[in-house]
């Protein structure tokens, strides 16, 4: 199944105004109708939780109403429709999107991806012994850099039945396990995406079911730090990071959000193909990150100690 990754997430929120402000400050672009897009047109849409047009909520606190997966072409869409129609009701919108529930009652949908192909430079670094990434007189520390999220990277669910849920994505939709935290859950990538993970899940009691976090890819670690620092400056609440994960190797910085989920910046994630054998380790603080920092107030070195001249 040529699924690429999450194309768009639909939320039914408590405070639409706060979500708008948050998503704009986070760096997404308002494409109209409360849809906020990354550079490649993957997006988050926010509606008031009372909006009758939304898919029904889960009986938990999560504000996520629907995950729309982007697929490569119409043939893939038809194949998914045929596969899922075997044992559930699959609805279809006028513009050809198919909608149903997964095996844990999360609302999901599939469409031919609305992503546009990006052709953008990577973060360029200078490293002794290697060809310089930036030529002479090209400055690396650019406070004015745009630092816009490039693409919707991954989503992480709290799920009451990790076995059942991962089985659905693996057996019915062709997702592949890239790594696994024993008794917590697997990292999964779909077949048309070589990113380490677009989907991860964490086993929880059923009253917790919902979205743990979502993440967008940034250009690189520097852009991630710049975008995160801007959020701090605007008064947003950092939750975890910056740091670098072990599984996936991606840099991370998570923020609280009025969408009732953590919203992450990530950068520089590993890529995998069919030759990779997944690792399986117990979840722990050590396994969860290679290192972890926290933002502190700015500081500069000076001359003598205070009070001396």
């Amino acid at each position: 199944m040529r699924i690429i990754g999450p194309d768009e997430l639909i939320f039914g929120v408590d405070n639409v105004e706060a979500c708008r402000a948050f998503l704009l400050d986070y760096g997404l672009e308002d494409t109209g109708n409360d849809r906020f897009a990354a550079l490649d047109n993957t997006a988050i849409t926010v509606r008031s939780k009372d909006d009758p047009g939304l898919p029904p909520p889960l009986p938990t606190a999560t504000m996520l109403r629907q995950t729309i997966w982007g697929v490569e072409d119409q043939a893939t869409l038809d194949a998914i429709e045929a596969e899922l129609s075997k044992d559930r009701e699959v609805a279809k919108t006028e513009d050809g999107m198919i909608m149903c529930k997964d095996d844990l009652n999360f609302e999901i949908a599939f469409r031919v991806s609305k992503r546009v192909e990006l052709n953008l430079p990577a973060e360029m670094i200078n490293s002794p012994g290697a060809r310089p990434g930036r030529g002479p007189n090209v400055v690396g520390a650019n406070e004015e850099a745009e630092a816009k999220p490039r693409t919707l990277s991954h989503i992480v669910f709290f799920t009451p039945d990790i076995e059942k849920m991962s089985k659905f994505y693996i057996e019915r939709l062709g997702f592949v396990i890239t790594d696994q935290f024993t008794n917590t859950g697997p990292f999964l990538r779909p077949q048309a995406n070589d990113d380490h993970h677009v989907l991860f899940m964490i086993q929880t009691p059923d009253y917790m079911q919902g979205l743990e976090h979502l993440a967008f890819h940034m250009q690189g670690p520097t852009e991630l730090m710049l975008a995160g620092s801007r959020m701090i400056k605007k008064g947003y609440e950092s939750f975890w990071g910056p740091g670098r994960h072990k599984f996936g190797s991606n840099w991370f910085w998570y923020f609280n959000s009025p969408l009732g989920t953590h919203v992450e910046y990530d950068a520089d994630m590993d890529k995998h193909d069919g030759d990779w054998t997944f690792r399986d380790v117990p979840m722990s603080k050590e396994a969860s990150q290679m290192f972890l920092f926290e933002n502190v107030e700015k500081w500069a070195p000076g001359g003598p100690p205070p009070g001396k001249s």
Binding site: T60, Y207, F239, N256, H262, E294
Partner: protein
């Protein structure tokens, strides 16, 4: 403004004037050395409810999404902006979300001559726990 003794002898920490908190609204106070507010105070008329700014779900989870942004839009509940848990303002009990059955940690507080004061002992403990 540091801690001082109240008329009845307990050590209290002044937070602000009652009028500094909009009626029906909330504000964060007592920032730690990283700038994170350690408590939130919610005003309802002449009453103030003060809680430690930490969701019972995770041991290092601040509640709000932005400076002083702690409540649902209708002002009826505290919202955890990590996974959406809702807490009653009167007693801090979680009514829906990952910490169902648990509560925010309340700090004894009072309004004295138009000034909000709290017993911030628990904040120090929480602060020490967080900085291990």
């Amino acid at each position: 403004m540091g801690p001082r003794r109240s008329a009845s002898g307990e050590i209290v920490t002044p937070l602000c004037a009652l009028s500094d908190i909009p009626d029906g609204g909330a504000r964060g106070f007592l920032p730690n050395h990283r700038g994170r507010d350690q408590v939130l105070a919610i005003r309802q008329g002449n009453r103030v409810h003060v809680y430690v700014n930490n969701c019972p779900h995770y041991d290092r989870a601040p509640l709000g999404w932005k400076k002083d942004a702690f409540l649902t839009q209708d002002g009826t509940h505290v919202l955890c902006a990590a996974h959406g848990a809702l807490f009653r303002i009167e007693d801090g009990a979680c009514v829906i979300g990952p910490c169902l059955g648990q509560s925010l940690t309340a700090l004894p507080s009072d309004v004295v001559d138009g000034e909000v004061v709290v017993d911030a002992k628990l904040v120090t403990e929480n602060f020490l726990k967080g900085s291990k």
